[in-house]
């Protein structure tokens, strides 16, 4: 049984997990840094434990303090949220050693998907299409050049240990490869402590489409349809996500859903996870990676399926069988999430900090707000700039886009700069409104704007 959950995270996702725990009658323990003492996730939890000073490494990424917080709180389970320790096997293993349930997949599954080369091999073994490229780690620059010429430029150099759009370099010709190879290796070593690289064909202007899966610990595994996440910033971070991918054929939806389930099953996956794909304009899809945790953009899936993903995570973590079969999962309507960040769109999206003096959030039918901030809260420079998620739901994509537009127009923040003005322009773009988007959308849009 799970009766007391410590949420090893901060901000909106910690609050999101707490909400479902409370609804389920489960006691909650928040952790917080000294800088986050006024965050709503602290106020909402039944109790809260300070785990360190402001910086992430001192607090949310201080392994000993977070583990000891779990121990002294008497929690019987830990929800990791996303980021932080959510995909660190060391954390999950340590909890297991302490007799505390990690609400997520097995260590084996995290390991299998945390290594890009191993993940790709697993996808191939599961008959899931992958982007043409190196069969695993590329030994040296000469091999990289040979492979790039085989599959054709442009190619991507990808750090094996990267993820979430980080650790990727595009190479357009053999002339650039030597220089960029060294740069990419150095960056990978510095960022991830691992210089191993892959070479992959660069799919031009693909869509980023991901499939949500969830499995129980009895071998049942289903998918909850796809999310379209092509609207990404110049650092490959998602900004606006939607579900479903409205332009998708039913045949493709079925093929991708089944492929995602095959890949996850191949590594004995349980709990919630996301299989990410690139989809080209001819409906070819390629396995990209698997995120072995709850995703930032999970609310759009919740909106169209009526399911509570955190509830499902907790239920399967406490040993229950999945409460529904693949056939019982249905979706209806259309949902879009916009990530609200404390960034100044007029200053190359530089982080903005300071006291929020006004916070007039949108509301009304079809509008969901997930945020840990409020008027009177001070945004600190220590953390990710995402301060809220605005999720809208409509009967179809057009209605969802309209609701998003109205909601963004209403959203009024003072004291800090936010990306809201940028989002307002984005949702008025004709291509965006027509759903004619790809991962090339934002760079083009910014070039035009």
């Amino acid at each position: 049984m799970i009766q007391k959950v410590l949420i090893a995270n901060r901000g909106e996702i910690a609050l999101r997990v707490i909400r479902t725990c409370k609804r389920m009658g489960i006691e909650t323990v928040a952790i917080y840094s000294q800088a986050d003492k006024d965050s709503l996730h602290v106020a909402a939890a039944d109790s809260a434990i300070c785990v360190g000073e402001a910086t992430n490494t001192d607090s949310y990424l201080n392994l000993a303090n977070v583990l000891m917080a779990a121990e002294i709180s008497g929690a019987d389970a830990v929800h990791p949220g996303y980021g932080y320790f959510s995909e660190r096997t060391l954390f999950a293993e340590a909890l297991a050693g302490m007799g505390i349930k990690f609400i997520g997949p097995s260590v084996k599954a995290i390991e299998a998907m945390g290594d890009k080369a191993a993940a790709k091999a697993a996808a191939i073994a599961a008959s899931c299409p992958v982007v043409p490229g190196s069969d695993g780690i590329v030994a040296n620059e000469a091999d990289a050049i040979r492979i790039a010429e085989e599959i054709g430029y442009p190619v991507l150099l990808k750090a094996v240990a990267g993820g979430g759009g980080k650790g990727i370099r595009r190479v357009d010709s053999s002339a650039d490869l030597g220089r960029l190879w060294k740069l990419a290796q150095n960056e990978a070593q510095a960022s991830f402590g691992n210089a191993d690289m892959l070479v992959e064909k660069c799919v031009i202007a693909p869509r980023h489409v991901e499939v949500q899966v969830i499995g129980d610990e009895h071998g049942n595994l289903i998918h909850l349809f796809e999310r379209e996440c092509s609207i990404q910033n110049l650092r490959h971070q998602k900004i606006v996500e939607e579900a479903p991918y409205a332009g998708m054929s039913e045949a493709l939806r079925k093929r991708m859903g089944e492929a995602a389930v095959r890949v996850a099953s191949a590594v004995g996956y349980s709990n919630a996870g996301t299989v990410e794909f690139l989809v080209d304009s001819s409906e070819n899809f390629y396995f990209l990676e698997m995120n072995t945790r709850l995703q930032v953009e999970h609310p759009v899936t919740e909106a169209i399926t009526g399911l509570d993903l955190v509830e499902l995570q907790i239920r399967v973590a406490r040993g229950e069988k999945l409460p529904l079969t693949q056939e019982q999962v249905q979706f209806e309507g259309h949902a879009i999430e916009a990530r609200i960040t404390a960034q100044d769109p007029d200053q190359q999206f530089a982080p903005s900090t300071g006291l929020i003096s006004r916070w007039n959030a949108p509301g009304g039918p079809g509008v969901r707000m997930d945020t840990h901030v409020y008027a009177g809260f001070k945004i600190m420079p220590f953390y990710d700039p995402m301060i809220a998620k605005l999720i809208v739901y409509g009967r179809d994509r057009a209605e969802a886009v309209q609701r998003l537009t109205v909601a963004l127009d209403e959203f009024h923040v003072e004291g800090i700069k936010t990306n809201i003005p940028f989002l307002r322009r984005l949702v008025r773009d004709a291509d965006y409104q027509a759903g004619d988007i790809s991962t090339a959308f934002v760079p083009q849009f910014l070039g035009e704007a």
Binding site: Q34, I49, V51, E53, A54, M68, I72, K378
Partner: protein, 139 residues
């Protein structure tokens, strides 16, 4: 973290300006400032503003000329008192006064101040969180 940072002052000034106050007095712990705003200038112009340290009133808790500080936990775990960790013990800054056990490892707790322990706030085996006051010291 100090409470009376630039952000606090900026907020106070904004509030003062919005509400048409001309004199702003900000107090935080041992610091106090008094500022005068020239409201006739537009906000974008450099404000005519003078902030000066003020004489502080005595803190009610320090009326007898005594000052207290706290020894705080710098880790999460279970506390174990050292031999110095008792009322009336004299401690010097840097003295080990106990330990916090975390993941099987004992981490020394050192006193951040010199003085006499007047109150112990946790006992053997008590779970403590980061920053938690462990003892009061008269400095």
């Amino acid at each position: 973290m100090k409470e009376l940072d630039l952000e606090t002052i900026r907020h106070a000034l904004r509030t003062a300006r919005e509400n048409g106050y001309e004199v702003v007095r900000i107090r935080s712990g041992a610091e106090a400032f008094r500022g005068t705003l020239d409201l006739t200038r537009p906000e974008s112009a450099t404000p005519e503003l003078v902030f000066m340290p003020e004489e502080m009133d005595a803190d009610p808790e320090e009326t007898e000329g005594q000052a207290f500080e706290e020894i705080r936990a710098m880790a999460v775990g279970y506390f174990a008192p050292g031999s110095l960790f008792e009322v009336s013990a004299s401690v010097n800054k840097g003295d080990v006064v106990g330990s916090i056990r975390a993941l099987g490892i004992s981490n020394d707790v050192t006193s951040s101040v010199s003085g006499k322990i007047t109150e112990v706030l946790v006992g053997e085996g008590d779970p403590v969180q980061f920053g938690q006051a462990l003892a009061r010291v008269e400095v």
